[in-house]
Symmetry: C2
Subunit: 204 residues, 2 copies
């Protein structure tokens, strides 16, 4: 049995769960003890000295970093393929993943710092929230250009490019309240993606 | 012709140059104008809004992020393969790359901030330099465990695991003066790697 150390709110762990579910790989989800409190330990920390989720344990193999885990999942359980076939398309969806992981998420996280941890209040908080909404609209416009006239970010079939976007946009819509404009291509994509069982189960 | 936007001192660009040279892919190296000065422009910035090197241009395909470029190079010019064959070994060398990119490099960079930009001087600088040397020894010990009794980080043949280590250890040894202890397995690996034409040309 595969074990995935994760946190239900981690978009990075959600990426991996969508991939495993799309491929029909059974896994046990485990919440590491002490996560975020500085006293994580055991197999989880041995596998990832950063003590960050996700970590995937597959028999004697332990893999950290959501991107490296996705590559491992694709190598280990190749069917159905989640990466597109051509080198240029593969690079394209990997770049989409990188932008979501390192840029889009930073805005969501910043809003979490305000909303949950009260790092800013009053007029300053309002200014930061407005700036985040503006930045998110910018990312939605960038994503629309990436989508072009494709059904999925991956191409004709759902895949890597889509599972890399859904968790972050999902958090943006459901947790921090920044959604794509009604009727736009991104909104239609989000509806299609959210109806997919692997995504619906993961983001429920 | 392939164009690689790079900087000769960037270990991230060096990774890509070693890969291209190992595969015998001819490329033109270009130093982006305005790099680091805030006025980079043109094809380079269109390809990577972060305005960071490396960026690879291959006909109509532009790829940023050294890891994604390495994946692209492997997909586009599969022979000779730089990734090992098995899923677990591929994950292992990708994790080595991640540690070098995000942890090892941070120590080198910190030393650059002191040595070149004089961010700290006197007793504080001496304390930070000593801490960096200690951290680097810790990474060397970690790398020795990764190497085990292998000839190369990749396994029996030079590959991804090795080109991901050589630029960062090279900078550590030649620029900031932290070298593996004489006679240890890492020192022997470094000598073997440095003698390899693709590495020697790139790190010259």
């Amino acid at each position: 049995m595969v074990t995935l150390y994760e946190h239900p709110l981690s978009p990075y762990a959600q990426k991996v769960k969508i991939a495993l579910r799309e491929k029909g790989v059974a896994f046990e989800a485990a919440l590491p003890g002490g996560l975020g409190a500085g006293d994580a330990a055991g197999e989880f920390v041995a596998a990832n000295p950063r003590a960050e989720v996700p970590v995937l344990i597959d028999g004697g193999t332990a893999v950290f970093d959501s991107t490296i885990i996705l590559e491992y999942v694709e190598d280990r359980w190749p069917a159905p393929a989640l990466l597109p076939a051509g080198a240029a398309d593969r690079a394209r969806v990997r770049m989409i993943e990188e932008v979501m992981d390192t840029h889009f998420e930073a805005v969501n996280w910043g809003l979490g710092e305000i909303g949950w941890f009260r790092r800013a209040e009053g007029e300053l908080a309002a200014r930061l929230v407005a700036a985040a909404a503006r930045q998110t609209r910018g990312f939605f416009a960038w994503l629309e250009r990436q989508l072009g006239d494709r059904a999925w970010f991956n191409g004709e079939e759902f895949g890597w490019g889509d599972l890399a976007v859904a968790p972050f946009v999902g958090t943006s819509v459901r947790v921090v309240g920044n959604a794509p404009a009604e009727g736009c291509a991104m909104a239609a994509w989000l509806e299609r993606a959210s109806a997919r069982p692997a995504v619906a189960t993961t983001l429920a």
